[in-house]
Amino acid sequence: MTRDDQLSHLPHRKRSLRLSLALMGAGAFTLTGCGQSEEVTDVSFDSPKSFQSVEECVAANVYTESACEEAYQASIKEVPRFDSLEACEAEHGEGACVAPTEEQAQAATGTSGGSWFMPALMGYMVGNMMSRTSRGATRQGLYQEPVYRNRQNQGNWNAATNQASQRVSQRQQTMRNVATQNRQATQRSGFGSRSSARGGWGS
């Protein structure tokens, strides 16, 4: 499915349907809930829950079981399918792909089994499908698109850490020894000492 196909049934909209805060916005629920301000009662701050599975969704006691299942099945239909594990890993990275479970195959294609592979499901694919607003829980169909482009020339960044450290030159090793020698306890204040124009680094 191309990106255009995915978008064609959606309203042309450049902003997110909904946003939520999990840590910063504690006051938002209060504000909405007790109606302290008429003006803001319609702001839709959604439950920040996201789920890895239908079971987890149901267990959270926020949505009905059917809402959880519906959202899950809708999201799994969006998951890209590959003919081989290699093809999937080539796009999504080593170790990132799995064969579908019987239940996933059923949800995705309507038939059981099938020899295909998909990237392991991410929780947000379920979580983003649903929202809860001050007007009650609603479910919103939200398209998913990859945030990252596939760059063929690049490797598995997760596995590359050790490899990278093995390339450290002798010169750097010497510097490290200088930096850490004769210290027993944890050293701190090794970062953050530089002064900026206005006491901050954002730009």
Partner: protein
């Protein structure tokens, strides 16, 4: 593109406080301003901002690849040699990045011109991603803007997708977040990112930059409990990290950095002349070159910027008719570039700068800053936008 005067929402300051936006006023001066908004057409956004942003981003990625493979270019960008392998490895391994912001001079007419990239420590994120979105929803609800008004803004949603993607592959699904002490604005920005990370299913502990520790013989930087930090978001520039006491340890330790080390290539204004050399006469680029030693005073129609500077500091410009303007600052020890002066559009007393947000490899939102001066700085106001 228009600047439209509009009524403020009656209770926005209360709401800002409740939503953690404590820096809406900085040192008694307004920072968030909603007595006006910038109005765009959908075509302006999609044709002139979104599409060029993604194209420029791809050009930048290709340039990163080229720079990473060239000692000469790394040297030209004044990147310290001990970081070269780290930068190369992080790029070759495909270490993902989170975000960046391109700053454009754009008047609504003609191509947007890239003034600079903020690809390492971009801020104004919370304002653009969340508070601006809330403003539009409420402004529609209160009848302040037309019901069909929209906004170029899926920044938070895309960040959540990127963080979910990244978090899956981090040990314990954990990403530490850091910024320096005693800066409320940066702490709030990082808090916002932590918030999104938590919503994306990550664990997102915080540590101040100054508190990051090193254990003798350890393989990772450590937190205040001496536990290893496997992955660390930093709101702190690469060029500064590298210069510090622990800088030499970065290549040796296995801590994953966000933004990744290869962002050092793009957090450097030297990238602007390199872009121009690589893509001369590109409609969204301005002519730029590396300043030669002993080069004479700035002629009319040129801007001078240090390789490393933040928030407009140490930028000087001479307009086409010879007016000189500059912002003082401490960034005097790095090389300089010169870039053709392209005026930002003026609306009444204000010059407007369009910030175009990239998350991962997608353009996903805009934030507008305005200033009475021609150089945008930390005190420039954030003004919301709408597509009408």
């Amino acid at each position: 593109m228009l600047r439209v005067d509009i009524a403020e929402r009656p209770n926005w300051k209360t709401l800002a406080e409740e939503l953690g936006f404590h820096f809406h006023t900085i040192d008694g001066e307004p920072y968030w301003k909603e007595s006006a908004y910038y109005q765009f057409t959908l075509e302006q956004v999609e044709r002139d901002i979104e599409a060029p942003s993604e194209e420029l981003h791809e050009m930048c990625m290709q340039l990163v690849d080229k720079v990473c493979h060239s000692n000469a270019l790394l040297q030209r960008l004044a990147i310290p040699e001990f970081m070269w392998d780290t930068i190369f490895d992080s790029w070759r391994a495909g270490q993902p990045h989170l975000y960046g912001r391109m700053d454009f001079a754009y008047s609504g007419d003609g191509p947007a011109k890239l003034l600079e990239l903020n690809y390492d420590t971009p801020t104004s994120l919370y304002e653009a991603g969340l508070f601006q979105w809330v403003w539009l929803e409420q402004a529609i609800e209160q009848g302040l803007v037309p019901r069909h008004a929209d906004q170029f803004n899926s920044i938070q949603e895309k960040l959540m997708g990127a963080l979910a993607h990244i978090g899956q592959r981090l040990r314990d699904n954990t990403l530490h977040f850091s910024c320096i002490k005693n800066n409320a604005e940066e702490r709030a920005t990082v808090h916002y990112l932590q918030d999104i990370a938590v919503q994306a299913g990550l664990k997102a502990p915080f540590i101040h930059t100054e508190d990051i520790g090193v254990l003798q013989g350890g393989d990772y930087f450590v937190d205040l409990d001496d536990a290893p930090i496997h992955a660390l978001f930093k709101l702190y520039p690469w060029e500064e990290l590298a210069q510090e006491t622990f800088g030499q340890l970065i290549p040796r330790l296995n801590t994953h950095w966000f933004e990744p080390p290869w962002k050092a290539v793009l957090s450097n204004k030297g990238i602007l002349p390199l872009l121009w050399e690589e893509y001369p006469d590109h409609p969204n680029l301005l002519p730029a070159y590396f300043e030669k030693p002993g080069e004479k005073a700035l002629p009319p129609g040129w801007v001078r910027k240090p390789f490393f500077s933040r928030e407009g500091s140490n930028v000087e410009l001479t307009t086409n008719d010879g007016a000189f303007e500059s912002v003082a600052g401490p960034y005097v020890d790095s090389p300089w570039i010169r870039q053709a002066y392209h005026p930002m559009p003026r609306f009444g007393d204000f010059h407007a700068l369009v910030g175009s947000w990239m998350v991962g490899d997608r353009a996903c939102g805009m934030g507008i800053r305005e200033d009475v001066g021609r150089i945008t700085k930390d005190s420039s106001c954030f003004v919301p936008h709408a597509i009408v």
